[in-house]
Symmetry: C2
Subunit: 145 residues, 2 copies
DNA sequence: ATGGATGCAAAAGTTTTGCAAAGAA
DNA sequence: TTCTTTGCAAAACTTTTGCATCCAT
């Protein structure tokens, strides 16, 4: 479990929202599924435990938890939107277009780049999450061979 | 007109494809609409000249022209797919999340970054087009004021 | 004339919404 | 009890596909 349930529940209640079994199930599902989790995958997982839980609730809850900064929205290679548990520090991904695997980049690798854009172009890059797409070693080797 | 019609038509015919009024209209529309052009916007434009032109043809033609490297596919902030005329050299965008304006970055700014990813992470970033999202000076000032 | 391209309409897939009912605080 | 959240079903969108027809070559 990579999220602190008690702390999150406190935060939600403090902001006037309610802690429901559905919200907990959906958050657990995202957590369990890992990174780059699509709504449909969440739906499939939560449905096993609670068949009555609807798709609408999955979508509403993913939006809600993203607004609360408990989840983060990320983009996949094909343009689809996915989610993951938001860590305390932003991080970024190198996503392989061939095998869909990805490497995590520490925030620091973008820091220099961002500063350059800021001073050179007067543009502040939003670095909550950036995905770069390309090809990992394995797939490159496979293609080249 | 930022594309060479004669040259493109030649290329298509040489590859065994046909040059149709629809394809020309759609390419002109993308050209006229500029950067980050969504399918629906293309459809609205071409429809004015040729009301019978169907959405299916817009989608099929955008895919086709992308395959032929005459157009390039780009991603927008909300995850939607858009298109633009493909230049000879890749370029990148700084897209403002507030006002949707964007700045064009020369390919060179990513070259260093890319080399670092390659040597450090064994990952070859696909740099045909990268969009960074954030906030331009104007919108930053407006928000900060 | 020949086969690639188009139009139409229907399908498929994904996300949103209205509203009554349920249930967390 | 109160008011947020949910489930259901339908709607809204976006994109794809089958097939007969059309038309660029």
């Amino acid at each position: 479990m990579s999220h602190n349930t008690a702390e999150i529940n406190r935060r939600l209640r403090e902001a006037g929202y309610r802690v429901t079994p559905q919200r907990q199930l959906i958050l657990d599902a995202v957590c369990e599924l890992g990174k780059h989790v699509v709504p449909d995958a969440v739906y499939e997982v939560v449905r096993r435990k609670t068949p009555s839980l609807s798709r609408a609730t999955v979508y509403r809850t993913l939006h809600f938890l993203t607004e609360q900064r408990i989840l983060a929205m990320v983009q996949m290679a094909d343009g689809r939107v996915a989610y993951e548990v938001a860590g305390p520090e932003p991080h970024h991904h190198l996503v392989c277009r061939t095998c869909d695997s990805f490497l995590e980049l520490p925030h620091s690798v973008l820091r220099t780049f961002r500063q350059r854009m800021d001073s050179q172009y007067d543009f502040e890059i939003d670095v909550s999450h950036v995905s770069f797409f390309g090809h990992c070693t394995d797939c490159r080797d496979a293609a080249g061979a």
